[in-house]
């Protein structure tokens, strides 16, 4: 489908480094736009005024939100992960919301790069490698006791350890898959509904009234739902990252 296509921009299709294509794609462009918007959003709220204005309150409520979440899930040791989890949360949130903006009205085609498994996969691998790094750094080989919960009966240990190991290794996939599929499914749904509206309109007045109008009303509702999903998915990604870091930080 057109909106999910990755294409090189402005004659960079042939750029190569050591045999790998490094063309500057629309995906990369929208990642840059997201980063610029995010930096601008933060910079406007970080003037450290004594009496916070509206913008500073907005930024502070976001940082306070992530701070509270890490405090509640990890404890005091969670403070040092605030920069990472906060960047992750805001980047995903901005990317999700930016992809939903009706920029098509002014002729720009927004590209939701979180609807691509490569992008969400890298984000998930980053979280997962922080978990592994923290776990082995802090607990050494005792980190493997994560696979044997307290009070497991001796004969059950091999089975439990196997199950825990699988559930541990599946984490990066489930993390990446959730965000990618949720974003892609929403955009697909909107595309299908809009094709109903256009097809109904072309088929004549009766079809337009019977199919087009209800589909259009449904689209408005789904758009609102998608805004909610964009927030929830960013939150869930940050929350699960916090939970996994908690496992590494405190074992269990």
């Amino acid at each position: 489908m057109r909106q999910f296509m990755i294409e090189p921009l402005g004659g960079t299709a042939g750029w190569e480094v050591a045999g790998y294509n490094i063309a500057f794609t629309n995906s990369a462009l929208w990642m840059m736009i997201t980063t610029v918007l995010l930096v601008a959003f933060m910079a406007l709220g970080m003037k450290r005024e004594l009496v916070p204005g509206r913008w500073q309150m907005m930024v502070e409520s976001f940082t306070g939100f992530i701070d509270n979440m890490l405090e509640a899930n990890i404890g005091k040791a969670g403070r040092k992960y605030v920069p990472y989890v906060f960047s992750l949360f805001m980047f995903i949130l901005f990317a999700n919301l930016l992809g939903l903006m009706p920029l098509g009205l002014v002729g720009v085609h927004p590209f939701t790069f979180t609807s691509h498994f490569t992008v969400t996969g890298i984000l998930a691998v980053m979280s997962f490698s922080i978990v592994l790094g923290v776990g082995f750094w802090k607990h050494g080989l005792k980190f493997f006791s994560l696979f044997v919960p307290h009070g497991t009966p001796l004969p059950m240990i091999p089975f439990i350890a196997f199950v825990e190991f699988v559930s541990f290794m599946v984490r990066p996939f489930s993390l990446a898959l959730r965000l990618f599929v949720a974003m892609m499914a929403g955009h697909l749904l909107l595309e299908v509904l809009s094709s109903f509206v256009i097809g109904g309109g072309n088929a004549g007045f009766g079809f337009s009234l019977l199919v087009g109008v209800p589909s259009f009303i449904l689209m408005v509702g789904i758009c609102a739902l998608e805004l909610l999903v964009a927030g929830i998915q960013a939150y869930v990604f940050a929350l699960l990252t916090a939970l996994y870091i908690n496992d590494a930080e405190n074992l269990h």
Binding site: M69, A72, N73, S174, L177, R178, V181, A182, A185, I232, Y235, V236, L239, L240, L243
Partner: protein
Amino acid sequence: MDMEAAKMLGAGLAAIGAGLASLGVGNVFAKYLEGALRNPGAADGQQGRLFIGFAAAELLGLLAFVVAMILIFVA
């Protein structure tokens, strides 16, 4: 049966999984609301767990979607 038709049928059947996951997600939020109305004081502290439950239930529905996509575009 034709191979192509079988793939499409399989992708359609995968939609059952998405529907069942919606039951799960509905259950998560319903139980949370039930508990929250009984004890509103404890509700805010459990919001994190609510979303963990939601994420776990939702993932299984999303897997059904992935199965459908693989059947249509990859297999």
